[in-house]
Amino acid sequence: MPELNYLIFLGCVIPYRISSYEISTRKVLDKLGVELVEMPEFNCCGFPLDPINHDMMLTLAAQNLCLAEQQNLNIMTLCNGCFGTLNHVNKELKEDKKLREKVNVYLKEIGMEFEGTTKVKHLIHVLAENIGVERIKDAVQNPLNPLRVAQHSGCHIIRPAKYVGSDDPENPTVLKKLINVTGAECLNYLDEMECCGAPIIGVNEKLPLQLAREKLDHIRAVGAQALITVCPFCHMMYDLNQPRIEKTFNEKFGIPVLHYTQLLGLAMGFSPEELAFKQLRVNASEIVTK
């Protein structure tokens, strides 16, 4: 099935500190028949450079896209930030001839040219659109009911709708459907679309922690046993930073935060060890030994 071949784009945060996301994704996708092709060369998607030099962001993203074009394959990202950047730049350069010419002048310096022959997808698009909910349902051996969870899709796989356009930006349902397939129940909660705040943690620590605290508070209010994410930045805010949030606001949450692929992996019969549950900061053993 050739449409299930993707160049895996890890980005920076996952190899830096969130390898549990990569480990669980590789296990799950392999069993679902997706072939991930390793790239000898890729670099940062460009996202962190946009605030300081838009041209450099465009060019670095385009350079990654050119590398994928050379392989004649589509890109699959696990990170919302990488998806948002690469997809946006890919679409903008395809549509805007003037901008494409400008970026190609920069790329000429390194012997590359953007042609616009590749597509960029996020993991959840591959799961929902290319593999499909039915096939995932067939792979579920160990339905997770009566587990009750909440989802956090994050921003850059939803907005700006003009460039993403694969889900309802006011009421996204893709991740919810993917969660329900595992047998777990996905609960609604207040302000589900709220940002995790991670992009500004380098310049202001307080605001992202306040945002994340509020999200954990809303999730606890509906009785969710875990939060499910699909982005390493969001995961970092809610899992790695949860003890810090608890300390700062003098409040106890203890809400496990799983990558979607860990949740799906459990339902597909993988063990918590195989899915790198040990690497989670907030202990998730209560969910596993339900």
């Binding site: 920076c12 590789r26 030099n53 850059h156 930006p169």
Partner: protein
């Protein structure tokens, strides 16, 4: 009444009276030439961006509507020297909700780019950019991490072509900006 004025002044973080010399009437044209910021003049100050902004909910000073008004008025120096422009978390809610399709987050990005060009950049961004120039990745991935990948059965990480990256840092002008703030 006076309390209200005081709060307003506190919120705006600046005096209420502006001098003509504070204003650069050409600034709005400068902004509107930057890709993504073409519609800066279309903002009619409805405030949807600010009402829906997650940062504005928690911060007393970050008001996207006000940033756009200041840009329209030509308050260039005030805008480019104000740390609040670094608070946008790029959730893009303002982009989706704006009835005039002004592209507020893109304008904030343009303001940040101009501020870096004319002044300085926050240390965090300097670090990210310098990491990318040195390694191709925004964070330094240690040898220990790479070994751990191997022991976890993960394939080796893609390697960046650092010569190419250095060239791109040069042609886009980012190298110069980094040197400027590094010294």
């Amino acid at each position: 009444m006076s309390e209200n004025k005081e709060t307003q002044e506190k919120e705006s973080g600046q005096k209420m009276v502006l001098k003509a010399s504070d204003i650069d009437p050409k600034f709005k044209y400068e902004i509107s030439k930057i890709p993504g910021s073409e519609k800066v003049m279309l903002c009619f100050q409805c405030g949807t961006c600010t009402a829906d902004c997650p940062i504005a909910r928690f911060d007393d000073f970050y008001r996207p509507r006000k940033l756009i008004r200041m840009a329209q008025l030509g308050l260039k120096d005030k805008l480019l020297s104000d740390d609040v422009i670094w608070l946008c978390s790029t959730c893009f809610t303002c982009i989706d909700h704006c009835p005039q399709d002004v592209g507020i987050a893109s304008i904030v990005r343009a303001l940040r780019n101009l501020s870096v060009k004319e002044r300085d950049m926050p240390v965090a961004y300097k670090e990210l950019a310098s990491n990318i120039r040195k390694t191709g990745y925004a964070y330094i991935i240690s040898g220990m991490r790479l070994k751990k990948r191997e022991s976890e059965g993960l394939p080796s990480l893609p390697k960046a072509d650092l010569k190419n990256i250095a060239k791109l840092f040069g042609t886009t002008g980012l190298s110069k900006m980094l040197e400027k703030v590094e010294t």
